[in-house]
């Protein structure tokens, strides 16, 4: 019996850490997709770029891990504004096929460019002392890094929740997700709002990318490898819903971890089963608008 409890705790802990990574990376995608119905398959590329900026900052310039996470997020957020204005904007009114093709093209270009600069070998990042080793919580020891990820994730959930539900800009975003035309006619500048959310979302993706280096290692294929997972989190949670994205990230993160612990050969089979079931029953996801 204690064995079962140990495994259950491990699954819950690792699943939670994984879910937080998924949430941080996918939440921007969810909000931008909810706002503009834009299928952005280059989101993973922004995460990958963030990861590589962190690698360069820590290894070439000797910036410490936490600062380089912040710098990389801001940098990617700023760069993404130009992409949004120049390349994404002309395709808001186009069908999802055009959007898929454009952003997949961008993702391919990003993979090729980062392979050219960094090579295909997985990169790692030097962690500060206080993130290494285990932390003892009395009954069990847990890896510190994952504990840090969970704490950071929960903190970001709180910040985003506050920003989304309690600030003026959050109210505008929610209004625009609910009914774009109405929001525009009451004087909300949805274009500007979208640029801002896009930049924040890409910045968060870059943060997720930086955090993921320690978990999975970083290769240029990060841009598409985890993209399907981000999209699934967004689709299952419902477009533009913070709560939905969190729920979906938790569900998929924990189920995927449990699947890998218990039936390793099945790989990612379970999350796809869950995805199909959820989407067949609720095509717009948990909290999406039908």
């Amino acid at each position: 019996m204690p064995q079962v409890a140990t495994i259950a705790v491990s699954i819950l802990f690792d699943g939670l850490a994984y879910a937080m990574f998924l949430f941080i990376t996918a939440v921007g995608l969810s909000v931008t997709m909810g706002l503009m119905n834009f299928v952005n398959l280059a989101h993973g590329a922004f995460a990958m770029a963030g990861g590589y900026f962190v690698v360069s900052l820590t290894q070439s310039y000797g910036v410490d891990f936490i600062s380089s996470l912040i710098i990389a997020s801001v940098l990617v957020g700023l760069i993404s504004i130009r992409f949004e204005r120049r390349l994404y904007r002309p395709l808001y009114k186009a069908g999802e096929l055009d959007q898929v093709l454009l952003t997949i093209g961008l993702a391919f270009m990003a993979i090729a460019a980062f392979t050219f600069f960094y090579g295909p070998i997985p990169k790692s990042v030097p962690l500060p002392q206080w993130l290494q080793g285990n932390v003892d919580l009395g009954f069990r020891a847990f890896p510190r890094y994952r504990a840090f990820l969970i704490v950071l994730g929960l903190f970001l959930v709180a910040v985003l929740w506050y920003g989304f539900e309690r600030t003026n800009i959050g109210a505008r975003i929610r209004a625009a997700v609910d009914n774009r035309r109405m929001a525009e006619s009451v004087g909300i500048n949805v274009d500007l709002l979208f640029t801002v959310t896009f930049a924040i979302g890409s910045g968060l993706a870059a943060l997720g990318g930086g955090l993921a280096i320690q978990l999975f290692g970083l290769t240029p294929y990060f841009a598409v490898l985890y993209l399907v997972l981000f999209l699934i989190v967004v689709a299952v949670g419902g477009l533009g819903s913070l709560k939905g994205t969190l729920m979906a990230a938790l569900l998929l993160g924990i189920v995927d971890t449990a699947g890998k612990y218990l039936i390793a050969e099945a790989g990612g089979f379970f999350i796809y089963v869950i995805t199909v079931i959820v989407l067949l029953l609720k095509p717009a996801g948990f909290y999406g608008r039908q």
Partner: protein
């Protein structure tokens, strides 16, 4: 359709006349044009001109077939899918498993078996999935393909997993034509299958059923309103397309004599989509041009460097989506319309009204140009410096030069464009 379904309207004679005209119109569309012989002539010529590249040639033919099946659902019915590789894979594995595990090595019956299995998969998944649209449909098709992939990976004792099933053996085609070392038999076999399937697809596309599909693509609500059984039609065409993709997959396995789980990958779905878009959707021959151009480019460029090739696909996609949405075939059609070049295009510079110029737009373009210049300069210098980012610190002048060059170039292009755009905007020819 019943003869008396229009109670009011033109008289009997007028109705018969209208019906006759409609039938004439469909027949005219269906009639073969001389240009349609071109791809087939090229395919046969290739057999004699490149006798040692026939293995590659068979791959092109297989991908053309696969792209045609996607064109049927994407180009005609407007179903956007990211999981079309599922049916290709089902077909490939039907033949592979039949040969390796059951000893069923007859190729033609293998094609039929693959078509039936893939059609079954297409019917079942289509019945459930085609109720949805947009992102949900994208995700569902994607997840379905990955689920099949993971199932195959789970039972790698049967499927061989990612190592696949190498060294499959097949009987000679029709019991007569032995496989040779250079894949010539394979090429002709694939060409024959492609021809048969293509003329089947061509019939579908120009039939009333094909017209209904185009109607669904253009305006679903209207098709619902005039009483067209939309879901049934979509499932039907999805099943047919799945069967054809299955045949393409079976041909892939037979001509390569091996198959691995990578056929189910997202990469496969994305690749065929890129080919089709590159050639042009909804115009039958787009699949031919797209698959051929893509594979020939890939063959040459990936020898040079796989990284450059990947960058190249990205740029191809970007350019296609932004500037040539109807693909290579669409560009060719447009060029064909320019009967007289002299009469159409007159690049006469105008006079810029500087007070009308939007400096902010040019400034932003220059900013983007600066970023591009920076990236290109970084790429050009990355080999010389031992630390990846040290170029920025050690040679600030070079950094500045690249940035300025990029900005100046793009700004100049923008202003140069204005010179011409200004003329067409005012509509007057300068003196």
């Amino acid at each position: 359709m019943a003869g008396n379904d229009i109670s009011s309207g033109p008289g009997n004679a007028g109705r018969a006349q209208a019906r006759h005209e409609a039938a004439e119109f469909l027949l005219r569309r269906h009639r073969f044009r001389p240009a349609e012989a071109l791809p087939w002539l090229i395919a046969i010529a290739a057999f004699f001109v490149f006798p040692d590249r026939m293995t590659f040639g068979s791959q092109v033919l297989v991908m053309i077939l696969f792209a045609i099946s996607l064109d049927l659902i994407l180009g005609y019915a407007g179903i956007v899918t990211l999981g079309h590789a599922a049916f290709f894979g089902v077909g490939a594995y039907t033949v592979g498993l039949a040969s390796a595990r059951l000893g069923w090595t007859e190729p033609i019956s293998g094609l039929f078996a693959a078509a039936i299995m893939a059609a079954l998969a297409g019917f079942i998944s289509g019945w459930f999935l085609l109720r949805y649209r947009g992102l949900t449909l994208l995700m569902l098709t994607l997840a379905t393909a990955i689920m099949i992939l993971e199932t195959g990976n789970f039972r790698s004792d049967i499927t061989g997993g990612y190592d696949g099933m190498p060294g499959l053996v097949f009987q000679p085609v029709l019991g007569m034509f032995e496989y040779d070392l250079y894949g010539r038999t394979n090429y002709l076999y694939a060409l024959a299958v492609l021809a048969v399937v293509f003329f089947f697809v061509r019939r579908i596309v120009y039939s009333p059923f094909g017209q209904a599909l185009t109607g669904i693509r253009e305006n679903v609500r209207r098709m619902h309103a005039i009483g067209s059984p939309v879901h049934r039609r979509l499932v039907t065409v999805y099943t047919i397309a799945a069967a054809i993709a299955g045949v393409a997959g079976a041909l892939f396995t037979q001509t390569n004599a091996y198959v691995t789980l990578t056929v189910f990958d997202f990469d496969t779905s994305a690749k065929v989509l890129v080919m089709l878009i590159l050639g042009g959707t909804g115009r039958l021959y787009g699949a031919f041009i797209g698959a051929a151009v893509y594979l020939i480019l890939e063959d040459h460029l990936s020898k040079l460097s796989p990284t450059f090739w990947q960058f190249g696909i990205g740029i191809l996609l970007l350019v296609t989506v932004l500037f040539a949405r109807r693909g290579i075939l669409g560009v060719i059609e447009d060029l064909g319309r320019f009967r007289s070049w002299k009469g159409r295009i007159r690049m006469v510079p105008g006079r810029i009204v500087w007070s009308n110029v939007q400096w902010k737009g040019i400034g932003m373009a220059a900013f983007d140009g600066a970023l591009i210049g920076l990236a290109v300069g970084f790429a050009a210098n990355v080999g010389r410096t031992n630390l990846l980012w040290s170029w920025f610190v050690t040679e600030p002048l070079s950094v500045l030069a690249w940035t300025a060059a990029g900005a100046a170039l793009v700004a100049a292009i923008n202003i140069g464009y204005l010179v011409y755009a200004e003329r067409s905007a005012t509509g007057s020819t300068p003196r």
